[in-house]
Symmetry: C2
Subunit: 314 residues, 2 copies
């Protein structure tokens, strides 16, 4: 009977549902990686950050790692690949909260909500300068499941969407698709430059100061992917010199963002503590994917969802 | 030659365009109602608040009032009706900025942006409780042009929309349509109660404390119509007693909102200074409607857009 160990706690309701449906598996909900190293599970369910090469060494029976998040850049992918361990993630469950978050920030800035909030504190009744999202252009770096959902919603607001990926192939939610190689010529068109890219060798430090100089000085740059897309000093300079109007950052080179980082205090920067994918429905949705895959595992029928290719990195 | 007088200033570009296209009309862009009373225009273009029964008495030749806003509740409708003066408004031009504003507030609260902003000021890196808009239900009071656009956008986010009007007839952007008479039974379903109703005899004080008691205690009430939909003391009590979670108010019984009004300081109330329809494109769009109607006026061909029925009040 395969042993399934969760390294994070889940609600009693979810535990009961799993045990009821999967009587052919043995569940351990004790909730830590230390436990895992003593109990030698076949299947590990983790958020990912607690699994490194050393702890992997302590799991001789491991055959499958189910990651309850989308990012797998913290995983020991090389070692997992060498041991031929199946890795699946929860890609796809983030698209709703992330797209809602991105739209929330874009609309909030466009309609001057932060300024109105400050005015309310002072009981100031004063018109504010606010524009329309309709008719603007968004360049979306990473037009996959999340980027496509952002694109679909932006299109409903009358925004032109350009998807930008490694291959430049066509994607849902995009009016136009370009490859990373063509980013230079399209940056000057964009009112919004939105990244939801994962961290891979191709995306690491993809953007530099030249890219920011090419953006409109009214542009808003939003990073909801990974903090190693661009050096923070580049963003800081672009914001200080008003090369762009605003930045909204949910991811950083170092997280939590150190208190000494100037981004905290730049008036044209919104710092968000890596929360864009949070949702009350998060665990429920991750477990749905896990259950589908566990059915495949136990029955040896069907195919796995969300397999991560260790050498591709997503 | 008909005399057209604007009681508010417009950009030179717009003045030139009007004079170029309509050489059969005489334009006066001098910009005040006092001027109007000396110059006896046939056609008056106004935002509406400067035209009362007394000033109307000083305009013996007036045949048409073009209102560059949507609300006509401040106009001397009775006297205009008696003198059979054509009244047109700019209804329809507000739908884009207003719908964007309503979505901005809804998403901003859902994704906890105000809380994140306060955290940033203190350099606090901490997760926040944030939910999803998807799957919720909105009751939209006033499912016309603006309400329909709000409904259309909410539907794109996976929100169920219920339109509520005097007649209960079907409207674009609504999954369901109900009449004012059925509001009681539908209030307990709504996560969002959004009003964009004009001020008319039927909508004045339409909501009372019983309605707020029927709402979910997680509900958000948004008023972007007129401040006489509900007594402010009712909203204040509902917010203080947590009968509802949040209110977002762009309109008030008295505007500007007096400094002594408790709404300013309630932590679960957003006070917005009647700015939801503002847009850089506002005047341009209002003039488009005016030009269409002026062509009809001068050619006596076609039919007028946006005629206001003085006895209906919108």
């Amino acid at each position: 009977m395969p042993k399934v160990l969760f390294t994070f706690p889940i609600k009693e309701q979810f535990r009961n549902e799993l045990e009821k449906e999967f009587s052919e598996a043995e569940f351990d909900f004790s909730g830590t990686m230390e436990n895992a190293e003593r109990k030698h599970p076949d299947i590990l369910v983790t958020y990912g950050s607690d699994l490194d090469a050393a702890s992997l060494g302590g799991l001789p029976d491991l055959k499958w790692v189910m990651v309850a998040s989308a990012g797998v850049d913290q995983l020991p992918l090389k070692e997992l690949g060498e041991r031929d361990i199946l890795v699946t993630n929860s890609s796809g469950i983030h698209k709703t909260p992330m797209a809602e978050t991105v739209l929330a920030h874009i609309l909030s800035l466009k309609r001057a909500l932060p300024q109105l909030r400050e005015q309310q504190k002072q009981k100031v009744w004063e018109k504010v300068k606010s524009g329309e999202l309709k008719g603007s252009t968004a360049l979306i770096l990473g037009p996959g499941s999340i980027g496509g959902e952002i694109g679909r919603l932006l299109q409903a607001f009358g925004v032109r969407t350009i998807g930008c990926s490694r291959s430049g192939s066509t994607h849902d939610g995009m009016h136009e698709d370009i490859s990373f190689d063509c980013i230079d010529e399209h940056l000057p068109e964009a009112d919004y430059v939105i990244s939801v890219l994962p961290s891979t060798p191709e995306t690491r430090w993809l953007l530099n100061e030249e890219h920011f100089k090419r953006m409109k000085n009214t542009a808003v740059f939003l990073n909801f992917g990974r903090g190693d897309l661009v050096k923070e000093e580049v963003i800081i300079e672009a914001l200080k010199n008003k090369e762009i109007a605003q930045a909204v950052l949910d991811v950083f080179e170092q997280e939590p963002l150190p208190e000494t980082n100037p981004l905290w205090k730049l008036e044209n920067c919104t710092v968000s503590p890596h929360v864009s994918a949070l949702s009350a429905k998060y665990v429920e949705r991750a477990l749905e994917i896990f259950k589908e895959n566990l059915r495949v595992w136990l029955s040896s029928e069907g195919s796995y969802k969300n397999i991560v290719e260790p050498d591709r990195g997503y």
